[in-house]
């Protein structure tokens, strides 16, 4: 029953026996009291704080929704644009042109030329 109560030894240990002169001296400087309107002002401040928090919450929610929607839209737009851009880079184009040129040259060397165009082959000896 007395387990939680600081016993005399505890009080002496902590030096907080009410017979302690320091303890009694502190009573000479009592705790200050709030003025008569403290509760009224505090209530008003609580109301104001809650109203502010609610309006702040709404605007934050709006901002959040707009940010989320805007972000998704932006991602979608970026995705669409990147899908439309050809995957070939200028270097690829250059390589394709060189490749095409090589193919043309290879066709010129080929003995199995088209019969319709054999007469006009540049490699055909016209002296025959």
């Amino acid at each position: 029953m007395k387990a939680d109560f600081p016993n005399d030894d505890d009080l002496r240990e902590a030096g907080l026996d009410e017979n302690d002169p320091v303890w009694r001296l502190l009573a000479e400087s009592p705790r200050p009291e709030p003025d008569a309107w403290f509760a009224v002002r505090t209530l008003a401040r609580c109301r104001y704080a809650m109203a502010g928090a609610e309006s702040h919450g709404i605007s934050f929610g709006r901002i959040w929704r707009w940010t989320l929607g805007g972000g998704l839209g932006l991602c979608l737009a970026v995705l669409l644009v990147t899908q439309q851009i050809p995957a070939t880079s200028p270097t690829d184009l250059k390589q394709q042109k060189v490749q095409a040129a090589f193919e043309v040259m290879a066709n010129l060397d080929s003995p199995e030329t088209d019969s319709t165009s054999s007469s006009t082959s540049t490699w055909q000896d016209s002296s025959d």
Binding site: M1, K2, D4, F5, P6, D10, E13, A14, G15, L16, D20, P21, V22, W23, R24, L25, L26, A27, E28, S29, P30, R31, P32, E33, P34, F38, A39, R41, T42, L43, R45, C46, R47, A49, M50, A53
Partner: protein, 216 residues
């Protein structure tokens, strides 16, 4: 035996008071503003008084005390009555007061002027009790002693100061103070012992004479 009976009465009253506080918090969570008013009126003296003793600045104390109740109000919806309400509320007090101390410390580093009402020399800034019933000499001595006591309290490290204020003026138990300060009961006793020794040294001039008669 007498102590046991007194303690039982006190503990019973504390339990009833705590149950009442928790009921008020439930009503506040349900949007009952009159419950908030009751809660503020019940605890304003303890909250404001403790903060004023801690800061030595009645204006700042009023602002911080209001912030405590705003936080209590905001937390009412999520409040779970796992601990004593008063201990929980004074944990908010502790956080705000210690934050204010840190803010002031930073401001002092920037400013060349020490904060008013803190440390040695300045007036404590408290509203003094009515001294009209005393002679001018006694009133002046009383005022001087009060200011010396307040200065001595303000000169204590913040943990010791809060421990001594909670114990002396709010009559918290060691367990409650330990919970508020987030420390152990032996550490709380140690804090109180060191605080008392510091105060004894700082106020030795007033301890050697009968109360209210001045140091010399």
């Amino acid at each position: 035996m007498k102590d046991e009976i007194r303690y039982d009465d006190e503990r019973g009253a504390a339990n009833v008071s705590d149950a009442h506080d928790k009921a008020l918090m439930t009503r506040i969570a349900a949007g009952d503003e009159s419950a908030l008013r009751d809660l503020i009126e019940k605890h304003e003296g303890a909250v404001y008084g403790t903060i004023a003793k801690m800061l030595g600045d009645p204006v700042e104390a009023q602002d911080l005390a209001q912030q405590v109740f705003v936080r209590v109000y905001r937390a009412a919806g999520s409040y779970r009555a796992t601990a004593q309400f008063k201990t929980w509320m004074f944990t908010i007090v502790r956080n705000l007061v210690f934050n204010e101390h840190r803010r002031r410390s930073r401001a002092t580093l920037i400013s060349l002027h020490p904060p008013e009402n803190e440390g040695q020399g300045g007036s404590s800034g408290y509203d003094l009790p009515d001294l009209a019933t005393k002679t001018p000499g006694e009133g002046a001595l009383q005022k001087e002693m009060m200011e010396a006591i307040n200065r001595a309290i303000l000169s204590l490290p913040e943990q010791q100061r809060l421990a001594i204020v909670l114990r002396r003026y709010d009559e918290f138990s060691y367990e409650e103070i330990a919970s508020i300060l987030k420390t152990s009961v032996p550490a709380t006793k140690s804090l109180l012992f060191r605080a008392r020794e510091t105060l004894r040294e700082a106020l030795k001039d007033y301890l050697e004479i009968p109360s209210g008669k001045g140091p010399h």
